[in-house]
Amino acid sequence: MTKTEVLKKLAEQLDLTQADTEKLYDSFVDGATTLLAMNKGFTLPGLGSFHSEVRAEHRSYNPHYKQMMMIPPKKVVHFNQSSTLKAEINEENDEQ
């Protein structure tokens, strides 16, 4: 589903114009990105929690050069599914 489709649907549900919905959407994503960049985690109820972590520098084997490489530290985003989402997803699994 594209962003436009999502915006259209949300705008209908919320009784807002699509432009307003887009403004909300963009600042929501922007805010979430900024939070993660600032090392702040957050939880979206019913969906899961996000946080960022520094993956430490480590040695790893590069098969192309057949040598060990030193991989520099990197900050990555982690997601943890919420227990409700887990239950819902697996419930659907059982029904099938």
Binding site: L10, D26, A37, M68, M70, P72, V77, L85
Partner: protein, 337 residues
């Protein structure tokens, strides 16, 4: 946890930045979450533009252990939702470390390094990266002369390790110049370069280690000097164990990606670019400019080198790499015009 932000705070911030009421903002967040969930249930995939995508993944049954009692249990097959951040988010989050790159350690699994001391020292340094010290002042210093750089020496901790290498090469080069030329200006310049390098060497002991990434951009002038002088020697280089073109190229020119020059000077398209025998004697061609200030002629040669590498890769069926180097060739070709 202190570094967590509550949902209420997010909603409040959202309503502050957009000017909508908190109720509206919350309704939006709820609707968005509901949308993602519904899509996950339906298609097993969902995405939030510019943020990331969610995917339902099947997890196979596996054997586990009860962490309290240690007794083995079977974890049944189940589904879980995974999240993949999009590029915009990844880059924003990783901005602080973005300038770091993977480095070749020059050892096979578990085997000790066989490379030159300077190179391995650099890799050790990288264990203490300092991303906060950005390269701002570095950029400013680039165009300055040797003398100006000497004033800034105190801050330029990054120069030190490269300086050890440079000292050796500049020393050799100036000796060569003294023998070959009577030009006093040239001789003086080399002599000053040498003294400067030795002063750097003295500082080495006192300075704390810094990341190599910091070091290399700070030293373009020195590196350039090195490359032009060693290159003029028409160097013949003997390949050490586990060395690749780009390691040699970095030592010779200060830039790993100039290796097609070396390849072109020594081989043709029937040589596999990924194979390099230990002990091979390589001609290291000279640059007519410096590695940071290439002339059109250099660009043209880089382009033809990259084109050769590309066709060699194509010859050996590595089409991905062939394409990649064809792109390099294009780029350098444009630069040469």
């Amino acid at each position: 946890m202190s570094n967590k932000v509550t949902y209420a705070e997010i909603i409040e911030a959202l309503s502050r930045t957009t000017g909508f009421s908190k109720q509206k903002s919350e309704a939006f967040a709820k609707a968005l979450i509901a949308e993602v969930k519904a899509e996950l249930q339906e298609t097993g995939k969902a995405s939030i533009t510019n943020f990331g995508s969610f995917k339902v993944k099947e997890v196979a049954e596996r054997q586990g252990q009860n962490p309290q009692t240690g007794e083995p249990i079977t974890i049944p097959a189940h589904k879980r939702v995974t999240f993949t951040p999009y590029k915009a988010l990844r880059e924003e989050v990783n901005a602080k470390y973005a300038h770091l790159e993977s480095e070749l350690i020059g050892e096979k699994k578990g085997k000790p390094a066989t490379k030159s001391g300077a190179a391995s020292a650099i890799f050790e340094e990288e264990k203490l990266p300092d991303p906060d010290l950005e390269t701002d002042d570095v950029v400013k210093e680039e165009p300055k002369s040797f003398k100006r750089k000497e004033h800034a020496r105190g801050n330029n901790t990054g120069l030190i390790m490269v300086a050890v290498l440079v000292l050796v090469i500049v020393g050799l080069a100036s000796a060569w110049f003294l023998l070959r030329t009577d030009d006093p200006a040239q001789t003086a310049m080399n002599a000053s370069a040498e003294t400067e390098a030795s002063s750097q060497n003295e500082i080495t002991a006192k300075q704390e280690p810094v990341s190599e990434k910091k070091a290399s951009p700070q030293n373009p002038e020195l590196a350039g000097q090195t490359s032009s002088e060693t290159a003029k020697d028409g160097n013949i280089y003997q390949v050490k164990e586990d060395e690749w073109y780009w390691v040699i190229s970095r030592n010779a020119y200060g830039k790993a990606h100039f290796w097609p020059l070396i390849f072109e000077a020594n081989f043709n398209r029937d040589t596999h670019p990924d194979s390099l025998e230990t002990g091979t004697l390589l001609k290291i061609p000279a640059l007519s400019g410096t590695s940071d200030n290439l002339t059109a002629e250099d660009y043209a040669r880089l382009a033809s080198g990259a084109a050769l590498v590309s066709s060699a890769y194509e010859n050996f069926g590595k089409l991905d790499k062939a394409k990649e180097y064809a792109r390099y060739a294009d780029k350098w070709n444009r630069n040469s015009q």
